[in-house]
Amino acid sequence: MNGPDLLPLVFMLPLVVAALLPALALKRPELSWALALTAALVTAGVAAVLTATLGESLALRYPVGGWAAPLGIELVFDRLSAITIVFSGVTALALVFSRTLAGGLGPRPALFHALVLVNLGGLNGFAVAGDLFNLFVFMELLSVSAYALVAAGRGSGSALAALKYLLPGAVSSLLVLFSIGVVFALTGSLNMADVAERLGPAGAPAATALAVALFASGFMIKAALFPLHFWLPDAHSAAPGPVSALLSALVVKVGVIGLIRGQLLFGEAAAPALSQVLMLLGAVAIVAGAVAATVQSELKRLLAYSTVSNVGYIALGLGLATTASVAGSLVHVGYHGVTKAGVFLAAAALIERTGLHDIEDLRGLGHRMPWSAAAISAGMVALAGVPPSAAFVGKWQIALGALEAQQPVLIAVILGGALLALGYGIRVINALFFRSPTHARVVAAREAPPSTVLPLVVLVGLALSAGLTGALMIDFVGPVATAIVGAIAETPGGR
C-alpha cells in the first residue's frame, strides 16, 4: 500500500469507527473513549503520512472505485488538505480533554464520542473532496453532527442554541447546493478541476454570477463572516467545553476552506466582486469582532467573538489577493485552529471546575488552578499575535499583503485588531491572576486532573512556539497561494 491508497482512510476510518462505536461500547462503556481516541490518533497519523508523501508534488489523486475523473469520483489531497492533520490532532486532544467530563455528556458517552468522530470524518472528507457534490455531502455530515453536538450539553438552553445554529446552517447548505445545481447545469460536470476549466467557455456570465453569489454567501454563513456571524456566539457558548473548541477551531474553518475552493473554482468569474466583498467584510469583521469581544462579560462569548475577528483576518487576506496575504490566510486557518482550540479548552477547564461563566466571577482563579489559568493566559497572548506565536505569522503576512496592495488603512485595521485582542486578553489575565476572589466556588476550586491539563499545555505550547515554523509553512502553502492569485488574475479583461 503506497501513499495515495491511504487517502480514503483519512475520512473512512473515523466514520466507520463512529458507526461501530455505540455497538462496541454497549457492554463496556469505558471502551468507547479509548476507541474513539485511537481512531482520531490513527487518522492524524494517516493525514501526516499523506502530507509527507505529498513531498514536492502539488496533489495526490485517488479515483474512487477505479473510475477516472472527470466521470468518476476523485479524492484530491492537495496542500490545502494538509489541514486534516490539524483537524484530526485537535479532535484527538479534545477527546483526551473530554475524558473527565464523561458524566456531563449525557447518559451515553459512546454516542457523544461517535458524533465527534462523525464530525472529524466530515471535516477530513470536506478537505479531500475532489468534486462538488461530495463537498456538499461531507459539509452536511459535519454540520449535522455539529448541531447535535451543541445539544449534547446539560444546560437547558442547549437545545434552543442548537436549533438557532441549525436553521442558518441549513439555509447556508441549501445556498451551496443551489449553486452546485447551477454549476452542474452550466458545465455538466461536478469535478472541481474540470468545472474550473469549463466555466469560462460555457459563456453564461449571469448564471455564473448567480452561482458565485450563492456559493460565496453560503460559505460566508458557515464561516461566520461578519455580518453573517449572528448564529455563532450562542452556539459556541452554549455547547459543552470540548465541543466549543471543536466548533470554534475547526468547524468554522469549513466555511473558509469553502471560500478558498470557490476562488479556485470560479477564478476570474468571481474575482473582482468576491475579492472586494471579502476584503471589506474581513476588515469590518476584524474590528467589530474584537470590539464585541472586549465588551463581553461571559468568557466563552468573548472567545466566540474573537473567532469572528480572526475569520475577518482570513477573509481580508483572501480578499487582498496578493501571494503574501493569501499565504498568510492559509496558514492562519491552521494556526488559529490550534490556538483557539487551546484557549477554548482552557476556558472549558476553568468553567467546568467552578461552574462559573462570567469573567468577573472567575477572579483570582489563577492561584487555585495555576496550569489551566496559565494556559489560557498564554493562549490569549498567542491569539493576539505576539511573536513568535502562531497567530503572528498569518497577521504579519496579511499586513505585508496590505502593504503590497497599497492599502495603508487596512494595515491600521490589522494592527488595531491585534491590539484589541491583546486588550481583551489582558482583561482575562488580569481577572485571573491580579484580582482577589469574590466567589466562594473560586476559593474552593482545585486544579483539573492531568488528562484535562495535558491537551491544554500541548495546544498552547504549539500556539506559542509554532510561529518559529512560519517560514516553512508559508513555503508549503506557497503553490496554493500562487494558484489562487493566478486563478483570480487570469486573462484580465477577456474571458
Binding site: Y147, A148, S156, A159, L163, L166, L174, L177, G181, F184
Partner: protein, 118 residues
C-alpha cells in the same frame, strides 16, 4: 415574456424558494420555520431535477425502450442523496424542538427569547 414562459420551471423554483425563505424568516413558530426550510429544500431539489431534463427525452430506464434522447439520470441520484441529508436534518430539528418544548413549554421563538432575556 417568451423567455419567462420557456423557463417556467425556473420561475416556479424561484417562487417556491422565496415562499420557503419568507416562512423561515417571518414565522416565530419553530415548527413552521422548519416547514419553511423544507419548502426551500424542495425548490432546490426541483431545480436540480429539471436541469437533467432533455426535450422529448425518455426516462433513463434501461429496461424499457430507450430512445435516442433520454433524461440525464445523474441529477436524480444527486437529489436522492440530497433528500437523505434533508431528512436527517429535519429529524434532528424535530427532536430538538421536542426537547425545547419539554424544557420551556413553548416553541414560539419570540416567547423563548423573552424568557432568555429576563
Amino acid at each position: 415574456m417568451e423567455t419567462v414562459l420557456a423557463h417556467l420551471d425556473y420561475v416556479a423554483v424561484a417562487v417556491v424558494f422565496c415562499t420557503g425563505l419568507y416562512i423561515l424568516l417571518a414565522r416565530q413558530n419553530l415548527l413552521k420555520k422548519l416547514i419553511g426550510l423544507n419548502i426551500m429544500e424542495t425548490a432546490v431539489f426541483a431545480f436540480i431535477v429539471t436541469t437533467g431534463m432533455v426535450d422529448d427525452g425518455d426516462p433513463p430506464l434501461l429496461a424499457g425502450d430507450l430512445g435516442p434522447a433520454f433524461a440525464s439520470p445523474l441529477p436524480h441520484a444527486l437529489v436522492l442523496t440530497g433528500i437523505v441529508v434533508a431528512v436527517s436534518m429535519t429529524s434532528l430539528a424535530l427532536a430538538l424542538i421536542v426537547r425545547i418544548h419539554c424544557e420551556h413549554g413553548t416553541i414560539e421563538l419570540d416567547e423563548l427569547l423573552d424568557r432568555d432575556g429576563s
